[in-house]
């Protein structure tokens, strides 16, 4: 029975590679944008903070699938026609940036007020204080929810199959259409997603232990 799966394993693994590429690219971009949004929300003036907040609330309130359709069907009318890979990465990144920004913002705010006082009391100015005292502690606090968001992101890349990107989910669907072995193939797809996410979680656990310091 699993021979169908074995016969098509390379195709699935090829799709999985695309999924990994998509995930790495969009997660990196999302982390950068999210971090910038968080810094704006915590330290920006009223205007910048307002813009960042509106962005976060808007994006969190719209389904990713809708954003993908908007990019794929609506953007071309405005003359912007992104290739699906780039468009997919951008949409996922912009979407998850909103979640990442909340992760980072929460972590920055979770660094005790007393640490700010201690740094300021030593004459540190904001930039030094942030880079030496606040962010190193905030990033440790952010690590677990950050990984959690990355896991969600990996799974969400399956949605780009609807705009024709041949990643893991779409590869599986095409094989099923050819072989009709839905159970084995989608079982395999699910297993591959699980392995990807589980490995990430394990690595995060390891990282968390290495970065830990007792309070």
């Amino acid at each position: 029975m699993p021979s169908v799966l074995i016969a098509n394993l390379w195709l699935l693994l090829g799709g999985a590679a695309t999924t990994v590429e998509l995930s790495v690219a969009s997660a990196t971009l999302a982390a950068l944008i999210g971090f910038a949004l968080a810094v704006l929300q915590v330290f920006g003036g009223a205007l910048l903070r307002g813009i960042a907040e509106v962005y976060v609330y808007f994006v969190r309130g719209v389904p990713l699938l809708v954003l993908l359709f908007a990019m794929y069907y609506m953007l071309p009318y405005s003359g912007i026609d992104l290739p699906p890979t780039l468009g997919g990465i951008l949409v996922i990144a912009l979407y998850f940036a909103a979640f990442m920004s909340e992760v980072f913002r929460g972590a920055i705010l979770a660094v005790p007020r007393a640490q700010w006082d201690a740094g300021r009391g030593l004459g540190m100015r904001s930039r030094v204080l942030l880079s030496l005292v606040i962010l190193p502690q905030a990033l440790r606090l952010a690590a677990p929810p950050f990984v959690n968001t990355c896991v969600m992101l990996i799974k969400s890349t399956s949605l780009v199959s609807v705009i024709g990107l041949l990643e893991l989910t779409l590869s599986g669907r095409q094989i099923v259409e050819r072989t009709l072995a839905a159970f084995q193939i989608f079982g395999g797809v699910a297993l591959i997603y699980f392995v990807l996410c589980y490995c990430l979680s394990l690595y995060a656990r390891h990282l968390e232990k290495r970065l830990a310091y007792a309070h």
Partner: protein, 277 residues
Amino acid sequence: MPVISKSALPTPIEGRAVGQPMVEIRGLGKSYGRSRVLHDVSLEIRNGEVVAVIGPSGSGKTTLLRCIDLLEEFEQGEIRIDGEAVGYRVEPRGRRVRRPERELAAARSQIGIVFQSFNLFPHMKVLRNVIVAPVRVKGEARAEVEARARELLARVGLADKLDAYPAALSNGQQQRVAIARALAMRPKLMLFDEVTSALDPELVGEVLEVIRQLAAAGMTMLIVTHEMQFARDVAHRIVFMDSGSIIEEGPPDQIFEKPTSERLRNFLRRYHRACVI
């Protein structure tokens, strides 16, 4: 009005003129919303002088100290350090403007502050905690700062803990690191904010001893404390605060033996009663 006592002052350090006022606070006032935490506080601290502030919880002692280090904003009055108004400047039209961060930071870097809860940087080892500010704020040479830090840490009895993380230290040790960290900036004024209140009782002595040595070396200090005996031993002058105002100040003997105000008498009576229990 407060009278500055004429008690003997210790020898000055680094050639500073003894008895010249270093900190001059005039008419300091601060509120949180409706509640007034500081009301018309005026106080002078002279070079080499050790001033202890006592008073019940919530009397504004800590806020006063944080105002001097510019960690709190204040609405009224002014603070001068070595004659220079810090924190705010007054524009020609009389508008009070908070000074830019650069100037606040510069003023803070000359003042050492030690907090009740130590506030060491938990992600840095002891040595790095002590050297980070002199190197990154004052731009001093790392090797030089490190030598100084080792010496300071040895002086507070922690020569063997350079590579420990703060979490591995007892709270008394952490507080001594915090003192060394503040001293590494070579401040001209040290502020202590109830530095023994969060310590295990048996570790209070080791921290007080460090402060005592500093006093003997002629460091100018403002000490907010609940340790009455310590205040009496180490301070040249005691300031008693209640409800955001300075009620009484004077030499230790006068404050503890002949308090003139009813509130101070009550405070000391309650304190002694608590000690007996």
